[in-house]
Symmetry: C3
Subunit: 164 residues, 3 copies
């Protein structure tokens, strides 16, 4: 069973994805943290995330090779988040094709996975190319993930509405 | 009864919120205008808003202390809009905690209130800190408001879809 | 029958709009391409669009006077996309009133038309006036189109949800 939670920044998608996986798991789920680069602002967000999830999860950290981590894991996995992973992959010069391949392998696994992804494409088209490339990649990969997920939830103001 | 209308810029959320409160009020509702700073562009928007609402509302203006205004008001109140109020609170150096406290007090009132709020978190993460802080505050406060509202509507292209 | 597909950048709205019009047309539909300005990045997008639609459509190109093109066309028309047309109209100094008039004439035609439009208003309010004006026009015109459409679909992560 695969599930996608998509929504804007601070829409509440992460909290709702956590509640969702906890409610649906009979074993302790794994929290796969993809964050690689940490500044003060990030640290604060991460600490808030950690505080939110308490002891309910086992936490693993991997910024790039997430397929390996998920494949060797027996429990349901919360990928938090795909957007940060895309960011890391860009930074390390991986191509969109590389990202598609990695995600396709993950989507073929017979495991319970919940993906969290930032919706970044509903603002004005930005004037710098890197942002545009990121939006394009994020959009295409979100379509790829959603097409293989059993359930997709869109979150606004803390309310997750099932759209698939 | 508390209601939230959330949506992007020029999505039609304000017009629909006005129609909603007018349809559901037996007394003349109050239009609580939170705008503090007015330049030529804002003036034009405000005039368009005023023209839209005609004589259907009694208008009160308060950029910051909205709890006091709402509490001492007997009629249903349309808060137009929460985003501008957040903006004013930021400008006057109030903290997110201050904003949460003010909103929490409002949400505990036994009155009919319709909140209008801009969805600002579905674009690319902006590179300036003030914008990021605003998005964070807006997202957290929209979650707070939505959690206490009986009905929440998301508006796109003038169409308000109930999501709670 | 008139239909609007709205969604963010790379949300999948174009592909879904194409599938929708192909499924509902008994004659070969017309693909009305509104793109006027083409740089390398645009060229790549356009080629991807062309590859996606194959021989299923007859393609016509018109960046500005789309009413004339649609009126003289007998087959269902996919307007791809309204956002690019707004952009062109801005560039050539047409006013929002001009755009409203052109669209109103189109919406009064007794023809099958599918409109594709970018949702650009759910990010932070941009600090340059041209972007704000574009968002305002896009929002107002999307309301105009949606109000006259029989069906409106919002697309996220490749999933189009009917909202009207």
């Amino acid at each position: 069973m695969k599930t996608l939670f998509i929504g804007g920044i601070k829409s509440g998608k992460s909290i709702n994805a956590q509640k969702h996986i906890l409610k649906n798991s009979i074993t302790k789920p794994t929290y796969l943290a993809t964050t690689e680069f940490v500044d003060a602002g990030m640290k604060e967000r991460i600490d808030a995330h950690i505080e939110n999830r308490g002891d309910d999860f086992e936490t693993l950290e991997e910024p790039l090779k997430i397929y390996e981590v998920i494949k060797t894991n027996k429990n349901p996995v919360l990928v938090e988040c795909v957007s940060m992973w895309i960011n890391n992959m860009f930074y390390h010069s991986f191509s969109l094709e590389d990202m598609k391949k990695e995600l396709t392998k993950i989507l073929e696994l017979n495991q319970d996975i919940v993906f969290v992804l930032n919706d970044v494409g509903s603002g004005i088209i930005p004037d710098n190319k890197l942002s545009r490339d990121f939006i394009d990649a994020s959009g295409k990969l979100s379509q790829l993930i959603a097409s293989e997920c059993d359930e997709v939830y869109h979150t606004i103001a803390g309310i997750s509405t099932r759209i698939k």
